[in-house]
């Protein structure tokens, strides 16, 4: 590590509360451990390993408990987080993560139960899943829900598998085409392709929405589904969704809805009434469960009547005998058409507990208010910033406000520069360069859990940066200068990948 070139470099490499922290491998004190284990019991046989030889060593470093605590505490201090500040990452719904959720998920009755215990010993766990499933159905008006998908993209896969299974069951010529708006999340085409489908991207209209006529023209009896994000990735509600759904259904296809932006409409719009056949819900977005630096998530999928029979295993049945998990197709007549299994066991229980704690905390009235506040805050950002930045589409927007880089033209400052300058100002940048349909996109999602004071501070900062961009582009190119690291060399990282620690 060279520290000599840094202005204000210190001898230790530390800067006040920012500590330089080596890798665990560089902190190795051979023989040290942060865990004291009991001695193994006396047994007649020394080992009973069969044909596999014992390994000689693993190569792990040894650290004591205090060293481990300090290591991870110092690492944590290099992260931005919702707890620390405004995190308006569009399409990611970085809302407050209540600590009650954490406390509930750690109740031994939820955390310390095994997925293969006898049903009689886990009635409360099944009740919790069933209760959350009930809320998800009530909030969307949909008929069925698959709880097992582990994240949004996994939910997409589940939904599209159900659609493929329904087409299979119906028979007729193969349906392999999937129509997707150009502005879709990358997961949509990736999911369809993984299922052997052919993706066709349809350009949007000038108002940032689907081109209904273009979709209708592309529909046919070889189309399996249309995948629509609604509200869409430009932060707009797809007004023509009903007409699109009708056309899709007329062609014998299904309408898949990417529910990543459900936070805008939860408790205010009935998804079932939009003609949707399947939609995943990101519990780690809309239902406040923590992102944890990239997971775990949970992506239950709600289904219409037409797709309900194909919901994957396992499912839960609640009758007079209590709750029962159906893990095998022929255990129950209702699951004869179940299309398969998404993952091991029964879903992201720990995330379910958090999501239900959140749902109960808000209740029907709270959720109705939460989506309203999310949409109100985004429109407020749009109204306050559209004089400064260019908004490519007319409002009202839903829960996120989209700007492009037109107003930065000729300043020499790019969208990326604005993002990096925001870091020095103490904010997490918005989503940049997505959706792809807008040049230099900046997608701002304030969420309902941000105070007006905090939103106003962000707005004032953005206006200030836009002013500065006209005079001092160089300061943007150098940004960030106050973060734990300055801009990182991603080219070298990709050209000569170093993906793990190795002894020199």
């Amino acid at each position: 590590m060279t520290t000599a070139t840094i202005s204000g470099a210190t001898i230790s490499g530390h800067r006040g509360l920012q500590m330089d922290e080596p890798l665990i491998f560089e902190l190795d004190s051979p023989g040290s451990s942060g865990v004291d284990l009991p001695a193994p019991p006396k047994t007649k046989a020394k080992t009973r390993l069969g044909a596999v030889p014992v390994r000689e060593s693993v190569g792990l470093p040894g650290l004591s408990e205090p060293e481990v605590v300090r290591h991870y505490t110092r690492l944590s201090q290099k992260n931005y987080a919702i707890d620390a500040g405004f995190y308006p990452l569009g399409s990611c719904t970085m809302k407050h993560n209540p600590r009650l959720n954490e406390k509930m998920a750690r109740l031994p009755g939820f955390a310390d139960v095994h997925p293969l215990q006898p049903m009689t010993t886990i009635q409360g766990a099944l009740e919790l899943i069933d209760t959350l499933a009930g809320w998800l159905k009530a909030l969307t008006g949909m008929k069925a829900v698959a709880m097992s998908p582990a994240a949004g993209a996994h939910g997409e896969m589940c939904g599209m598998m159900a659609i493929a299974a329904a087409h299979d069951h119906r028979g007729g010529p193969a349906r392999k085409r999937v129509l997707v708006p150009e502005s879709a999340h990358g997961t949509n085409p990736a999911t369809a392709a993984a299922l052997g489908m052919v993706v066709e991207a349809i350009p949007a209209t000038a108002d940032g929405r689907i081109d209904l006529a273009a979709f209708k023209a592309k529909l046919g009896f070889d189309v399996a589904a249309v995948m629509l994000t609604n509200p869409n990735t430009c932060g707009l509600f797809e007004r023509d969704v009903r007409e699109l759904a009708d056309a899709v259904h007329q062609a014998g296809a299904f309408l898949y809805c990417d529910g990543a932006n459900f936070n805008a409409i939860i408790g205010r719009v009935r998804v079932a009434d939009l003609g949707v056949d399947a939609m995943h819900i990101n519990l780690h977005k809309t239902f406040s469960t923590p992102h944890g630096g990239g997971g775990p998530g949970s992506g239950p999928v709600v289904f219409s009547q037409a797709l309900a029979p194909f919901v994957p295993l396992p499912t839960i049945i609640h009758d007079d005998d209590g709750y029962r998990l159906v893990e095998c197709q022929d255990e129950d007549e209702g699951t004869a058409l179940a299309f398969g299994r998404m993952k091991a066991f029964h879903g992201q229980m720990g995330v379910f507990v958090r999501a239900l704690a959140y749902t109960l905390s808000h209740g029907a009235d709270g959720l109705h208010q939460a989506s309203a506040d999310a949409v109100l805050s985004a429109n407020y950002v749009l109204a306050k910033l559209k004089g400064t930045l260019n908004a490519p589409f007319e409002g009202p927007c839903m829960h996120e406000a989209l700007f492009d880089d037109k107003s930065l033209k000729d300043t020499g400052v790019t969208t990326l520069d604005i993002a990096k300058a925001l870091i020095d100002e103490g904010f997490h940048p918005m989503t940049v360069y997505f959706p792809l349909v807008v040049h230099g996109a900046m997608l701002i999602e304030p969420t309902e859990s941000e105070s007006k004071r905090s939103i106003d501070q962000f707005i004032a900062t953005m206006i200030g940066l836009a002013e500065r961009a006209k005079e001092d582009a160089a300061s943007f190119h150098a940004a960030p200068t106050l973060a734990p690291r300055r801009r990182l060399d991603e080219t070298t990282a990709a050209r000569k990948p170093i993906l793990r620690w190795k002894t020199r």
Binding site: Y433, E490, T491, A494, R495
Partner: protein, 125 residues
Amino acid sequence: MSEIRFTKDHEWIAVDGDTGVVGITDYAQHALGDIVFIELPEIGRQVSKGGEAAVVESVKAASEVYAPVDGDVIAVNNELAEEPARVNADAEGAGWFFKIKIVTPAQLAELMDKAAYQTYLEGLA
């Protein structure tokens, strides 16, 4: 003396008899930015005009490289695996991708010459 032709997808092909050397244009390398990886076709593969023949990646983008004309791959520039930056440095020379035996020479006439490609680029700006 070889003759160089260009495609609308920003590939070039330098023709010498019945062989052609293929790469991406300087305009393309500039648009992609720092190139970090190149996936080359296997020797012996048949490529067809407009069909995917290679992939070129920068940090944040991946683009297909299409065969300008039908042909059989007879050589590839293995040095790009170690040093993809060659494409940034000299896209239309040392940064060549692969060499083909041209199967359908008539297709060359459908490609642009240097002047036509220049005009085409001006139209894109």
